[in-house]
Amino acid sequence: MDQDKRNRDAGSGGNPPGDTWVDGLPQGRRWSGIGWSLLFLLVPVLGTATFVIAPYYNHWLPKDVSVHGRSIDDLFYFILVLTGVIFLATELILFWFMWKYDAAASSKPATYIHGSHALEVVWTIIPAATMLFLAIYQMNTWADIKMRRPRMSPSAEVVARQFEWRIRYPGRDETLGTPDDLFVVNDLHVPIDEDFLIQLKSMDVLHSFFLPNLRMKQDAVPGMKQPVWFKATETGTYDIVCAEVCGWGHYKMKGRVTVESRADFDRWLARIEAEQKATQRGPDEIPMAAAD
């Protein structure tokens, strides 16, 4: 019958000497409860501080130079604020409960309660509605970026292979796969303020075509053609990164994308065309390891 007595007989709880006993449990003093609550208070405080300070040190979203990028960033900030508020609220509540309901702080017995139907309903329905709204709110942007493909023939083809980006422009006939195609490696040029449609392929393994400044990422899958499109809004030269592990040289599968005016873009194409004619190289004669 007396389970409690038997517990004591079998050797008491085994608490380090010096601890006071409350409710038969090892119990720190009030200051230790305060200390632990403050440690957990640091989570929301330092967590928020990190996100506030980071942009000032340029540790933040890289400069956005595309039309889609702006809507992605807006959604990012929207979710950041929403989750930030929930984060602060729940972590502060956790801190406050830890501070207030420390057993060393009062001799009041714990509240005997098994839950609250009303509360459960409230905190089920509100998050459900929020999450559903959030999902619906994303759909249009997603469709713009990945589903509503501009009606045009591809502006360029990008073929990923270990460990380079081989880029092909359709040339004067604006058709890929014809003898006047222009070939470059790791050096993508796009005209500003124009829809640019890329046909993305892979020759060997999976790669991922990642343009941080254009907020674009798409896996290149061997055997498939992926359409990738964007509209750049600012001239400059930006990184192309491979974001899907593709072997030992994954880290150095680096390309550059140059956004330039239509005139500069046409001049560049003409120069490539001239170079290609001068060297008399056809598509089959491009050196395989041109990247290095």
């Binding site: 709880g13 440690l39 992605i72 309660i113």
Partner: protein, 611 residues
């Protein structure tokens, strides 16, 4: 009926120190007794501890692999301390193919050899029979086999480091064609074959375990232990076992398909006309994305397999040290079931930019957003459990509270990735690395430590040192946030994961100091585990002897001796109530164990609650 009216009558025949386990004096034990008691034991507690020790060793190995990864990320191409001697031919630097192997094996070890087996194998085995009042598992031999099938896995994964080309290096997801084509990377040779075999063995082990857990929980509960009197730990283990049983066959089949692609020349996952390393590759006719669907059909539910049991354990620990009933027991059970159910239809959120039809992405986004709901309900109920309690800051409680605090971060950061447009930018960056380390390390691993501190007295009959437990908690908690919180910032810059050196990109070249800071924190985090290791082993032999119920907790395992002998209980436990009757008003003590006979205060309190 005599056992019902006098459930606590001590029975000298099965006293705490059962000769089967502890009684035999040193030296008099024959080899066969030793083997059947400690090695090929069919006792669920011994098997649980075997799982615990094995997984803790792999935890250490996985942690060291992580440090090596962090070293390369912080200081690429610099001489590696200690390990550097292995790379003498490269002047002490890490080769990029070695780096890809490191992150692949870090994840593989942590997921397949640590988290899954420590939750289901160690805690599931040890706790299920004890907490439901059974003398052992339903199938003790299967249970023993579930541990011993881990050993081929240990050997395959561990041995793969030493074969030509090294261990698998295609990421823990093993996406083909990198993983199927033997010429695509050094680690895609023998190492990848061993990886697939190891994975299959882990699968066999998990399947044996899960069949056993389901049967045991359904059939072997003590008299009075209805399903809705089960502690949350058991509910979580039960639902995890169901998840395992339904999801695992898919991964096993997919693994064999990849094996035949590699060894027999089939082409499930290799497309036509693939040229890898200037050589034609594979039979063709396959589809690389098929693997991703099959892999994530298991591995997304596996994410919940890796956290649900920890959620259950944390629920039990929070109630014990808040001296308060669990807030919303049934909603907690339903939300675990909800997570498990929805867990089967969200795998595509790993594949938003994989080339899968983008329209399907929208479906998976909605399902993924919805799975945040049961997680939110659980979090609110944990906060409700602490509210109005009498909190005792033991080491176990601190780890349990930190689980809640950190799970909030890990849960919220998941919403960013669930939003398909935002995922385009942060997919495969450090943002996702931050997210899953908050869920799996700051969540599950902290929950595991909470469980170890909490059930250590039941496992070894002694209590761990509280002071050093708190030191361990403080250091781990501080360093883990230093390591992982900053990863969100890296992710916001777009810093990609799995790059051996990203600083030659204009976008990322300024991030080295932050990475160095994170690596120092990671070193601190691993070093802090020395405190834990010493406390663990010291307490096992020298810690203060614990009674049956050192925490004044309610659940059945605390009615058994510490440690329980063979057969667990020295009386037949009979259950009169749910597991969380703490601080019942009018009761002389602040807890009512599940086996305590009905108490008049209880009826009064129940009447008051329903008034």
């Amino acid at each position: 009926m005599s056992t019902v009216t006098q459930p606590h009558a001590p029975s000298p025949a099965t006293a705490p120190h059962d000769p089967h386990v502890h009684g035999a004096p040193r030296g008099s034990m024959s080899l066969s007794t030793f083997l059947s008691t400690y090695v090929f034991s069919k006792d669920h507690k011994v098997i649980g501890l075997q799982f615990l020790f094995s997984t803790l060793v792999w935890f250490l190995i996985g942690g060291l692999l992580a440090l090596a990864v962090r070293w390369q990320v912080a200081w690429p191409w610099s001489d590696v301390p200690v390990l550097g001697k292995l790379f003498a031919q490269q002047g002490g630097q890490m080769a990029p193919e070695f780096y890809t192997m490191l992150f692949t094996m870090h994840a593989t070890v942590m997921i397949f050899l640590v988290i899954i087996p420590i939750l289901a194998g160690a805690f599931g085995n040890f706790l299920i029979p004890l907490m439901i009042g059974a003398d052992d598992m339903a199938f003790p031999t299967l249970n023993m086999l579930s541990y011993w099938f881990m050993w081929p896995a240990f050997l395959f994964f561990g041995g793969s480091f030493f074969v030509e080309g090294g261990a698998a290096a295609g990421g823990w997801t093993s996406y083909p064609p990198l993983s199927t084509s033997t010429v695509s990377a050094p680690g895609s040779g023998m190492g990848q074959t061993l990886w697939l075999l190891g994975l299959t063995m882990v699968g066999v082990s998990s399947m044996l375990g899960s069949v056993n857990y389901m049967t045991t929980i359904i059939l072997m509960r003590a008299p009075g232990m209805t399903m809705f009197r089960l502690p949350m730990t058991i509910w979580a283990m039960f639902i995890t076992a169901i998840l395992q049983a339904f999801a695992l066959p898919v991964l096993t089949a997919a693994g064999f398909m990849q094996l035949t692609d590699r060894l027999l020349g089939t082409g499930f996952f290799s497309p036509e006309g693939n040229i890898i390393n200037n050589a034609m590759s594979g039979a063709g006719g396959g589809q690389p994305i098929l693997w991703q669907h099959l892999f994530w059909f298991y591995s997304h539910p596996a994410v919940y397999i890796m956290i649900l049991p920890a959620m259950g354990m944390v629920s039990d620990i929070l109630t014990t040290f808040a001296r308060k009933p669990l807030f919303g027991y049934r909603p907690m059970v339903y939300s675990i079931a909800g997570i498990a159910g929805l867990g089967f239809i969200v795998w595509g959120h790993h594949m938003f930019i994989s080339g899968m039809n983008p329209a399907l992405g929208i479906t998976f986004m909605v399902a993924t957003m919805m799975i945040a709901l049961p997680s939110a309900v659980k979090t609110f109920n944990w906060l409700g459990t602490i509210w109005g309690g009498r909190i005792h800051y033991t080491a176990a409680m601190l780890f349990a509270i930190s689980f809640v605090s950190m799970f909030i971060i890990g849960g919220l950061s998941g919403i960013f990735m669930a939003a398909t447009p935002v995922d385009i930018f942060i997919h495969d960056t450090y943002f996702i690395v931050a997210h899953f380390h908050y869920v799996l390390f700051a969540g599950t691993a902290m929950g595991v430590w909470a469980g170890i501190y909490y059930w250590f007295p039941k496992m070894f009959g002694r209590t761990m040192n509280e002071f050093w437990g708190k030191v361990h908690f403080f250091l781990t908690f501080t360093f883990l946030n230093g390591t992982f919180f900053t990863m969100h910032i890296l992710g916001a810059v777009g810093f990609p994961r799995r790059l051996a050196d990203a600083y030659h990109y204009e976008t990322f070249h300024h991030l080295q100091p932050l990475n160095a800071f994170m690596t120092w924190c990671a070193i601190g985090m691993v070093a802090s585990q020395i405190v834990f290791a010493i406390n663990f082993f010291w307490s096992m032999f020298r810690g203060p002897v614990a009674g049956r119920n050192p925490w004044n907790a309610n659940t059945l395992e605390w009615t058994a001796p510490s440690p329980p002998g063979h057969g667990n209980f020295d009386f037949q436990p009979v259950v009169y109530r749910g597991p969380y009757e703490y601080s019942v008003p009018g009761c002389e003590k602040d807890y009512l164990m599940q086996t305590d006979p009905p108490h008049p205060a209880e009826a009064a309190a129940a009447a008051a609650a329903h008034a």
